[in-house]
Symmetry: D2
Subunit: 359 residues, 4 copies
């Protein structure tokens, strides 16, 4: 039986990123304007949802709450990470804590905004009969079934601007700079921001890299009179050297390059800077449209689905499909080909081979 | 007979925009790296191509010429507008001036980078047997057969940031601000930047607007305690009032709103600011991929075609198709629906009706 | 008798500018932290102060109200322009309206934040026995007795970035661009932003300009192979031509330059964009220190004085001195000499002569 | 005997920073326009000056070389660090390598642009009879005898924008963030950028800090409902704990704060990002005026002096005075008082005491 929706809950979970507030705004306004339904903003992610009591849990979001937040980074609702059952002091799989939450907040459906982990949680809730809809969010762009998510373009922009600004130091000092960016498992940020910033070497987790290829690239540039190089590396690439540290690949590579090539090299680790600041136009548009789509899905009773963009179309996909794995960079992605054509090295035999085969 | 390509000419024509240098860089590097072919950079558009003599005409672009320009706005080749035959002092349709240009520059093919006017010229050259390939460029996003062109996202970003910054003045002074943006015939910039900036009213040339609807929106906001409004207007919308001036619609609307609502109102005309500055990440990626595609098209002998993006695919389309009309905003575009859902008024009966029918 | 201060009122009046919220934050926090005194925030300038009733008039600003506003442009208090006596429906000079305001808000002193007009009003209040202290604010930098005010550096930055971005269009199209900036009576913005942006011609109200000198400069640059020019003009310069329009000098000059030199020329009018956006670091630091100084002045009972910066020192000056005229650009200012040395033309015989005499 | 100046050499040495190109432009244009003297641009600092041969050493800078670089970060001349005598393969103090350099480049004077190390080298050259003039440059603002140098305001701006952007993450996740900025010996950057960014705790090398004070500040904020804190720390502060690492104080403090307060805490290390990007308006103006002043000093034969700004005046000071120590933050600096008044903690007994004594 389709339950009549009078109040929708919204939760933002996982790491923050630009565009979350645009989603909140979009959900509140669409629910009110198009359906006359109210929206309850839940504080501090799933953890807050099941641990806070009374007013702490959140509040009905008015039109005024949703005003002036489109351009603001982060989430006005707060977010949190961690195991919900542990946080609630109950045993794994005790979904009564969510029943209690739905009931005390009087929400008839829940919009879950977040990345891979959040959508997995949403899927579990769906399996246990909760009326949930997903909105995809990841800086890493690793969610399946959607071409892209908001947060990604903003992070790409921050990284690209950092690379732009680092160029003057690299050139003035004839240095190599190794810029470490997010991407524990996938290389989208390194690839797209690296090409946008004109990186000379881009290293992604999807393919093993040869250290020698990096040295060769820097030395070859030097020989041609370009006495600087920018190496963009995803945090999750694995060094060949078994003794290499698991963390801070940029430091490791930096000292290696300097030692092997004689070129002064410095690491730059962007870290949390990649999450901050106002969302780009691209992300505001995307987040707003995801929000509208998600409210539509709720009102149509299409629970267990997630808003997504495929080509030019806003569609919905089963959350179960979106979370069945990570969306990795395929080595035959056209942007890799374009990057190679403009002279970028990926330090990868597979990619080199692929380019050679093709021509 | 397929001519063997040894040198490709490249010309940038029409209005400048961010991303042109990314195209030039991409063409030079791809031609050299992938095909061992050299690129001749032609100065100052088609007009320069047929009027300049000797070294003035341009030069072979080396790898060094193509370095360090990815992030720079405008075009290092220069551009120009105007009738080529008139400029060359010959009669309309005398294509011998182009024969002379191709021959003196020793180019075997020509990549024409530009918007609607440029592609029309490219199509004429194609019809007259010249080996040309097109790369689409428009700030307005009005070219058919490609979902988007570079320059558009950069312009959207500039407009959005302007709207962001104007909000503080509008709020502090309880004013309405009317922001006039490019778009003589199409409303893409007003629509996308308006939604990204959170504009309260968006007026586009694709649908007539009711002045009263604008007044109502501003007054309604005032009643709800939001004593400011941002009106985003494409320069090409037509005022209802027959006596209204043809130019500077923002001024006209501004004084009208102030008179009719009593709310202090000011116009802001963004003008040439919309063309400037470094390209966004989106546009650098797009321009680079268009460049690679265009060189491929040249080397495959697919003349008369233009690089394009459709969904996620870089494809080619006949230039004749791309120039058969202008790509206007369809009134059932999902972004219009989303904009309405978050409370934006288009001052348009057609759009209001469409929204009502739908629900 | 020195009245014991328990509550300070703060008003922001005149045009908005970046830094006002930094002042409000600084006043609230300093009053609380250093003196245990509360601050009443008055809405919508002097006009709001004397016309609103009850809660509309404003409220006690808590620490929370003052949080998160440092980086936000505009003023959370709102501002207004216009004649207070007229607005209050009483006769010119009827200061009982202010007595009523002080008494109903229970404020023991008033901090008046604003430019020339605001400080004149503050001086009148002082003369009529009201305990007022001034904080200088002007985008134009025309207040006497203080080297600089907040808002100015932010506006300079916006103009400079606009000029930076316009360069690519000017160069690509071989055009002259005439950029009109604020400055009805003084040329500080045009001078400082013009030098920072590398303007080729700078026109300021402090000295008459020769049109021919502008043409000569553009033509001379063209001859040397620099086929573009940027002309920065303060809105308040007076054209030689008696028939010239009083407004929009950029349009007038633009068509004149194009006609006389044959160089394509376009006007760009920055208008309200110059007031917007987050304050620069310089302005946040300045605004915060003015705020602290103003609270000190209040607590020391030094009414009728205005916070000011002279050299490296935060001092106080009589408001009467600060408003006795406008601070104009002296023609022997070192920045004019520097600008001339790097090749800038002021189109001015006086400045040319001065430079010649000196050498 | 005053040597007639026909050619001035210019060298940029030490770390790069925004504004160096503005200096180069200013020197070239002023020398040409005001004195008809040519400028020789020396490549890669003092090391390049004494090790490169022939054309590698640099070149006469034309007006064209000096065009379009005002807004570009870094130095077009390149820079280098290291011991010149060692680099030249000679013994310490063998100034004949400079005689050879002056003579082969045919320069009659040398403008040395750089920080503390560069000015010390300049002073040594002066002592050995070389005609040198200094232009101060430091991101750290630690040069004596000048109120400020270019590069500083640009770095402050980058740090402030980073803090602005980090606020959204800190707030969304209820975290403390520890932002490490430059400043091995002096705290100017941490102080000024920390106040501009609204940092809650600022730690500078000029005064020892109490770890407990940091914990208290974060906990106190939490109690008041502000569940996030931003700690700005100069890299050169010394931890109390003797076992603490010498490097990366942000990491050390971050884990300490998390452990002691239970508040999730993350480090952010800005590193080389602080040197990059286009110079701010403030730095362009300053750099341009230093350049003009330095050329004047050369032409007046005032060797051994350095351009400086004191209050509002561009003056010259003996290089020997400017390098006699480091300009540290005095603990009674008015900005410290202002910072304390708006609620910033310096975690310092000395500063607490000073504030208490004062009141």
């Amino acid at each position: 039986m389709k339950r009549r929706i009078q109040r929708i809950g919204i939760v933002t979970a996982g790491g923050d990123c630009p565009g979350l507030n645009a989603v909140i705004r979009g959900v509140v306004k669409t629910a009110q304007n198009d359906y006359g339904v109210e929206v309850f903003g839940i504080r501090d992610g799933f953890v807050g949802m099941v641990t806070y009591k009374g007013d702490e849990r959140g509040k009905i979001l008015t039109n005024r709450d949703a005003s002036g937040i489109l351009a603001v980074g982060g989430t006005i609702l707060g977010t949190a990470r961690g195991d919900v059952f542990e946080a609630a002091g109950t045993k794994e799989g005790d979904y009564s804590i969510f029943e209690e939450a739905f009931s005390s907040m009087k929400i008839d459906a829940l919009i879950c905004t977040g990345g891979d982990g959040t959508q997995r949680m949403a899927q579990k809730l769906h399996t246990h009969g909760f009326p949930v809809v997903g909105i995809p969010k990841t800086i890493d762009n690793d969610l399946m079934e959607t071409d892209v998510t908001f947060g990604f373009n903003s992070a790409v922009t921050i990284i690209m601007e950092a690379i732009d600004n680092l160029h003057s130091t690299a050139m003035s000092h004839h240095r190599a700079l190794v810029v470490e960016v997010m991407g524990r498992d996938v290389g989208w940020l390194a690839l797209v921001a690296g090409v946008a910033g004109g990186g000379d070497v881009i290293l992604i987790p999807e393919t093993p890299y040869e250290e020698q290829a990096i040295f060769d690239c820097a030395l070859e540039r030097s020989r041609k009179g370009k006495r600087f190089s920018i190496v963009v590396v995803a945090e999750g690439v694995k060094p060949n050297d078994k003794n290499a540290p698991q963390k801070e690949i940029a430091r490791y590579l930096s000292s290696l390059i300097e030692k092997e090539t004689g070129i002064e090299t410095r690491p730059v680790i962007l870290g949390h800077l990649q999450r901050g600041g106002p969302p780009t136009a691209f992300d505001r548009i995307l987040a707003t449209q995801f929000a509208v789509k998600a409210v539509d899905l709720v009102m149509e009773g299409r629970f267990g689905e997630m808003a997504a963009i495929q080509g030019n179309d806003f569609v919905s996909v089963p959350i179960s499909q979106a979370t069945k794995g990570l969306k990795r960079v395929p080595l035959d992605h056209p942007l890799i080909r374009s990057a190679v054509s403009v002279g970028t090295s990926f330090g990868s035999r597979e990619i080199d081979k692929r380019q050679k085969d093709k021509s």
